[in-house]
Symmetry: C2
Amino acid sequence: MAIVEADISVSVDGFITGPNLEQEPGLGEGGAVLHAWIDEPAGKRLLDEAFASAGAVITSRKVYELTAGWGDDGFYKMPVFVVTHRAHDQVVKGDTTFTFVADGIRDAVARAVAAAGARKVHIMGGASIIQQALKAGVVDQVFLHVAPVVLGSGTPLFAQLGERIGLERIETIETPSATHQRYRVVK
Amino acid sequence: MAIVEADISVSVDGFITGPNLEQEPGLGEGGAVLHAWIDEPAGKRLLDEAFASAGAVITSRKVYELTAGWGDDGFYKMPVFVVTHRAHDQVVKGDTTFTFVADGIRDAVARAVAAAGARKVHIMGGASIIQQALKAGVVDQVFLHVAPVVLGSGTPLFAQLGERIGLERIETIETPSATHQRYRVVK
């Protein structure tokens, strides 16, 4: 069955965006450094591997809206399940299908697992989606791209999740602008 | 001049203790896993290196009180500067001197730097001391021992520090029960 992996960039102090998202949508003030690794050859290879190994993506309505403009063909080129409170018809762009799931994270993950076949399900975030998935016990692996910065404020990945979750380290990969840590969730 | 390094164990979600410190003083509920690396040969070597390279320690009154019973000879075997609001006479145990500094973190660091000579000043925590030192701009390096656990709640190392601090990765070391990340603070 598909491995469900939450995959996200984060600061050393645990933020996935800087502050002032109203002024700087997406990564917030100072948040661009979180994604600097993506623009480097070694980081690009990691990202390409992540895309090549994924058979489906789960994301939030907010991230969908932020990234909806990426590419005429839908960018992801695989089924994308958008967790939302507002029902919406499926959107098809080239090889990418955006299916809006209003029945919660468990349902979204079940549908993504069915769609992914032998490949991974890649939970992209935002933070709320990853928190919901961790609490629901449907995450098999966490892949954190830790950028060398203390942002001081912003959107916390975990905040006070309220549950203790054991992890086992699978691997640590260094690229010039991040330390990439992949963990297995102990169930 | 002595390098000032903040050195502390932390969960993947950024806690230096679990919750319920009243019931479980020291590391809190579930927090023992944060220090599991210390009991392993590879971790013990790292800790021995940290002690061997340090010429002075900075800590909080709370950590002082928690660890005051460690060893008749004072455990640290070097000058220890305890940041406190309550003045207290110096305590001498064997080679260890505990000097209580009531004039704030900058003064404590200046005195520790003078005492450390060519060795490092090791800021042990707690979280509040490390936060104060980072905000005061007196930290040269941060050495985080990241244990493979999401604690969900507890004492946050950074929380909302409120300041953006650039870091440069110096090294990443894996031991069986932690990933050790040493960063230089960009000034």
